[in-house]
Point group: C2
Chain length 427, copies 2
């Protein structure tokens, strides 16, 4: 069936290459939101949207939208999309693959003369990546009505976000919140090695994992490394090393149970960090990704026990782990998940359900409508690097899955007899 | 017997207080070598040396020396001393206690009208601490003929060490190497907690431990902390944490066997040190203090095995540990050790043999003559801090031990029948 895809891989490839060429020349691939290059990329996309017969606009939140009206007025919108901005020295596919796949769905529907009941909107969200203003998902937060008002005052050099929004065509003081969207679908590269390793075409995302950041401060005592016997020390590094291994063990245990879980000590600094002084203090920052809240709760209980045990064993002071930030997991909508799985079956794509360890615009869209995502493989799981790579055939297959899911959802959501949980999906 | 010491605690206390007052007022206790305050301290000491009837001079290496001629010309010199310079925000006793104790020995001999066979010299070595020129033990290296010629070009701002030596009264281009010293004795605060914990008066130093610095680079792979399953990572921090605990275990094993041994991971840095990225690289620097070369050799063999095992277990690359610097241990002279022990017995001081984990001028003096050291307790083992503290009574008792050892050595070394290993002590 994959030989007969209703999408055009050549068009997909051409769009991705064209956007890849719109980069800071001396550090590919860089096209950060709010920069002139970003506007160049947007101009390219807008032209392609128009070529596909879409009505284009920039919404109040600075998102580029292409619209294909449906045949039943008032049914609402099916939305597809992702983002075209990049991190500095990022890749060609993170975000772009999802925007181009969405565009290709609209083109394919047009080619085949298919009229959906719902309006279809293709979106390039503004500034999904951490932007020059230090914050991310500016466009999807805006569309969900969740962009904090005080963010308008954030600065990047002389520019405020308020001015930045105006620059890209948005309206900073108009609410961009939407209530007319019936479903949102996003294709994205996996940014991890799971699909490639398992030789699967598609990951149907069950949830966007929560991100919890926990700080641990280990307070020992600075002693002379030459004159203080090893038995008379309070070595903060030795205690912290024990905790790192405890965290690794706890994380692996939870990772082996159902539901995504990962624990990482990403930041780790010692003081005084001098060759001949016993380390007196360690600060570490944990990044915990949990699909299920009970996994996070279990981890935190076990972590507290480990901290107590290491403190007793080593004689150093370890303060209770402090939660710095805690963003809960966002489950994807089960009807959207099922529609995407049906799409995989129809197109012959091999697939598995999996959580997203990274954040995405879909997490904010899930606050206002049923949302779902598909992942496609990327080479070596590498992302946010110029070597990031996804095969055109994989993007095309993912686009076909999206298209099939759109057709399924268009039918289901147009039928008043079919029950859709529209509003209880964001618990 | 301690009530009847032949030294005067009041004089010792007065000298230490006087020198403590010669400090940068806003950051006590700071009297760094080559600064005007250092010269003020030297002026105080020179006056006290002269009051004690000593002939004073600055030698070619910039050391302040007070001389008390012996009654047998040509027998050579018994030398006592330490250093009067401090680290920034250091203490009142590190170095100073040894200079004042040496001076008190000379004063006591004078008070009692005792004429030694040998000449007695009291020394304040130049710049024992790491100086403004970035190097330490400048005076004792000079006296041992071991000051590297190229050091004269070292700079501290506009000042060269050549100019600095001239400033303090030395002669940079004259060799200060001595061959007339028959024994060198130094009193110093322990700078560790061993004597205080054991409630002992004196540590008779067996050796100044060697210092070996070893660098280990752990090379893993930077992966996204959210999207990379924990089982698919090469986490450099996890591997490094295992090594830290292996090093601790190996160190404790060797510390429990005869001979001082301590292993410390004092420097530890991770990359990229970002909350959401699996650590890709760790650099750690080990500080190894070993009294016995075989302990160091054993440690290095076991460390290499641990590195191999952790590399295999975790899948990260760990380069072979690299020795950055390697200064072997310096044994103290066994006749000097015995004379100091006799001094402890005579004065009623409780004592133990112990190694010095820190470096001292005595390590360089041992290259040119039989050398020995006594440690006295310091509060909490704290040193190089304004809270550094030693009891006057302990300094006085240590001075009395020095005095007894001087009397013993003066007798022994003046007798042609007594065999002294003078030249084979620096292996």
């Amino acid at each position: 069936m994959r030989q007969n895809l209703v999408v055009d891989a050549t068009r997909i490839s051409a769009d991705i290459e064209a956007l890849a060429a719109i980069t800071e020349p001396d550090r590919p691939y860089t096209r950060r939101a709010f920069t002139p290059l970003f506007l160049d990329g947007r101009a390219y996309l807008e032209a392609r949207f128009k070529s596909a017969g879409l009505e284009t606009r920039i919404d109040a939140s600075g998102n580029l939208i292409g619209r294909r009206p449906g045949k039943v007025p008032g049914l609402g919108v099916l939305m597809l999309g992702s983002h075209s901005d990049t991190v500095p020295e990022g890749g060609r596919f993170d975000g772009v693959a999802g925007v181009v796949a969405a565009l290709e769905v609209a083109r394919s529907l047009g080619d085949r003369g298919i009229a959906l009941a719902h309006d279809l909107e293709i979106v390039d969200f503004l500034a999904e990546e951490v932007s020059i203003f230090g914050v991310s998902c500016i466009g999807s937060r805006g569309m969900a009505g969740l962009r904090p008002p005080e963010w308008l005052e954030r600065r990047a050099g002389d520019l405020t976000l308020e001015e930045g929004l105006t620059l890209v065509g948005g309206e900073p003081h108009t609410s961009g919140a939407r209530s007319d969207i019936r479903a949102f679908l996003e294709l994205h590269i996996e940014q991890g090695p799971v699909l490639e390793t398992a030789r699967l075409d598609i990951g149907v995302v069950t949830a966007i994992a929560g991100i919890t950041r926990i700080e641990i401060i280990v307070q020992g005592r600075a002693d002379h490394a030459g004159t203080t016997p090893m038995t008379a020390r309070q070595d903060a590094l030795v205690a912290a090393a024990k905790l790192v291994l405890d965290i690794q063990r706890l994380g692996l245990e939870l990772a082996a149970t159902p539901g995504h879980f990962a624990a990482t000590v990403g930041e780790f600094e010692i003081e005084p960090n001098a060759a001949n002084v016993v380390p007196s203090r360690v600060r570490m920052l944990l990044d915990i990704r949990a699909e299920q809240r009970e996994d996070l709760d279990h981890f935190q209980r076990q972590l507290n026990s480990a901290v107590d045990a290491v403190g007793r064993e080593t004689g150093v002071m370890i303060a209770a782990p402090r939660v710095i930030s805690d963003n809960p997991a966002t489950p994807m909508d089960r009807h959207v998940i099922e529609a995407l799985e049906t799409g995989c079956q129809t197109t012959g794509a091999t697939y598995r359900r999996m959580a997203s360890g990274a954040g995405h615009d879909a997490a904010f869209m899930a606050r206002i409508c049923p949302a779902g995502m598909v992942f496609i493989p990327c080479a070596g799981g590498r992302s946010h690097t110029p070597v990031e790579w996804a095969e055109t055939a994989d993007i095309a297959l993912g686009s076909a899955v999206l298209l099939e899911a759109v057709l399924t959802l268009d039918d289901q959501l147009a039928s008043p007899t079919r029950e859709i949980d529209d509003g209880t999906h964001t618990d």
